[in-house]
């Protein structure tokens, strides 16, 4: 009778097929998926959300594979953590199709019930994630995974949505990807909590390390978008070197992730990031909701007429927008 309720119970109990089906419903923006997310929301907020971003071919999937392996097989004395992986690949803007190939690098993780891998197509979103990634991550959090690793679309300079979603953001670079001018540009390097130079056996690694360190010495801005209380120490992003294909540098990387987690907890930044993430999500949802309400309330002919007036240069696009969004009686009863 109450399908959502059964779905929610099974997901919280850790059942895999209901979880897989829920993720599809959330991705497809289906009403029953969104209703299930409403009921799952009280179960969220426990998982450590780790973002992994960087240019195409820098080795994001291979590193995600290695990080997950390390979390599943910790040094003695530490508990293994369950890991969900969300890997986003681009959707073709022409056909709407996608080839999602991140699993190819993650075959070491097969057969482990403490691992769940889900590939997602970006479906037209431009910030490096899919529109539904937030919901998918919430569902995995509610399903009880200790860590959710989110791998973005191969990112250039401005795909920074991941920093709003994750508690800890890793930016992966490969040697020889640009000089110190690239390193002081705004964008992707600003969002790094941890900078990783993968393929550290390739030539040019020293100058890449130098450029990134020099950038950090000029000051690092993560505190600008993630405010911490005054007096708390600033987090200086470490610059680490790895060779993912040979499992080199992975222990140091996991150690840095754990240090960042401890930092977030001791400074109160964990809650600050949580709040700022929820605020962003809320604002986006309000925009979508307002847009849908507006479309439902404005007669299409009125939009066409207004557009015609713009085309004939009678009014400007700004005037037209004002006209179309002017408080309409049916939108504001009373």
């Amino acid at each position: 009778m109450n399908v959502e309720h059964d779905l929610v119970e099974s997901v919280v109990a850790g059942k895999r097929l209901p979880l897989a089906r829920l993720l599809t419903l959330v991705e497809n923006n289906a009403p029953e998926g969104l209703a299930a997310l409403d009921q799952l929301f009280p179960h969220t907020g426990r998982a450590h959300l780790i973002g992994v971003t960087g240019s195409p071919g820098s080795g994001k999937s291979s590193l995600v594979n290695q990080i997950a392996l390390a979390l599943r097989n910790p040094p003695s004395g530490k508990a293994a953590r369950s890991v969900a992986i969300v890997a986003v690949d681009p959707t073709s803007p022409f056909t709407g199709g996608a080839v999602l190939g991140d699993r190819v690098r993650m075959r070491d993780l097969a057969g482990d019930p403490g691992i769940y891998i889900r590939s997602m197509a970006s479906r037209g979103a431009l910030g490096g994630l899919a529109r539904a990634t937030t919901g998918v991550v919430q569902a995995l959090d509610a399903a009880g995974f200790d860590v959710v690793l989110v791998e973005t679309v191969g990112a250039g300079q401005a795909e920074v949505d991941i920093a709003r979603l994750a508690h800890t953001t890793l930016v992966i670079e490969a040697p020889g990807m640009g000089d110190d001018i690239q390193a002081i540009k705004a964008g992707i390097l600003e969002i790094a909590d941890i900078l990783v130079i993968n393929k550290a056996d390739h030539p040019g690694v020293d100058s890449t390390v130098r450029a990134l360190r020099a950038m950090l010495e000029l000051g690092h801005p993560t505190h600008l978008h993630n405010p911490v209380a005054s007096g708390t120490p600033l987090w200086i992003p470490p610059v680490l070197q790895t060779i993912a294909t040979q499992s080199e540098g992975i222990a140091d990387l996991v150690e840095a992730i754990d240090r960042h987690t401890a930092y977030l907890h001791t400074t109160g930044a964990w809650q600050a990031r949580d709040r700022s993430r929820l605020q962003t999500e809320l604002e986006q949802l309000v925009q979508v909701e307002l847009n849908n309400n507006w479309r439902a309330s404005v007669p299409p002919e009125f939009i066409q007429e207004t557009l015609a007036q713009v085309e004939t240069r009678q009014i400007s696009p700004y005037q037209a927008a004002k006209l179309l969004t002017h408080p309409l009686p049916e939108l504001h009863p009373g």
Binding site: A20, N28, P31, S92, T95, R107
Partner: protein, 136 residues
């Protein structure tokens, strides 16, 4: 607004390393607007079923040239059923002797495609099978 996409897993079980056919199909399905999860070479039936479950796919395409299809394909079908995914459409491509086709179809395979099959045929068949399944 609901946006439904057909999700297909393309898998390459067994020990042969020839994945050109698998890549051609993956590309054709992508161009037909589907989301294709590509898993790479040398997948075991267990890995294929696990990926099909986690990705909640509508269809699984198995590319096989090694001659081990009479062992590997029924195993994948059994595992899918055991996981509650009996509704998933399974198709097989590769070098499959004609005599083996009826028993694969009997085991639950939707279609078997030999060399030279036009990719448009595969796209049509999958689309039809998935739409039928959605109506059940």
């Amino acid at each position: 607004m609901i946006e439904r996409k057909i999700r297909v897993l393309i898998a390459k079980p067994g020990l042969d390393g020839h994945d050109r056919g698998a890549k051609v199909i993956a590309r054709a399905l992508r161009d037909a607007g589907m989301e294709v999860i590509y898993t790479g070479l040398r997948q075991t039936p267990e890995m294929i079923a696990e990926a099909a479950l986690q990705e909640d796919v509508d269809a699984v395409g198995i590319s096989i040239l090694s001659g081990a299809h009479m062992v590997l394909v029924p195993r994948v079908l059994d595992l899918l059923r055991a996981n509650g995914q009996e509704g998933v459409c399974v198709f097989v491509g590769g070098i499959i002797p004609e005599n083996d086709v009826p028993s694969l179809i009997n085991a639950g395979v939707a279609q078997v495609y030999g060399p030279g099959t036009p990719t448009t045929q595969v796209v049509e068949d999958i689309t039809r099978a998935v739409l039928q399944q959605a109506q059940v």
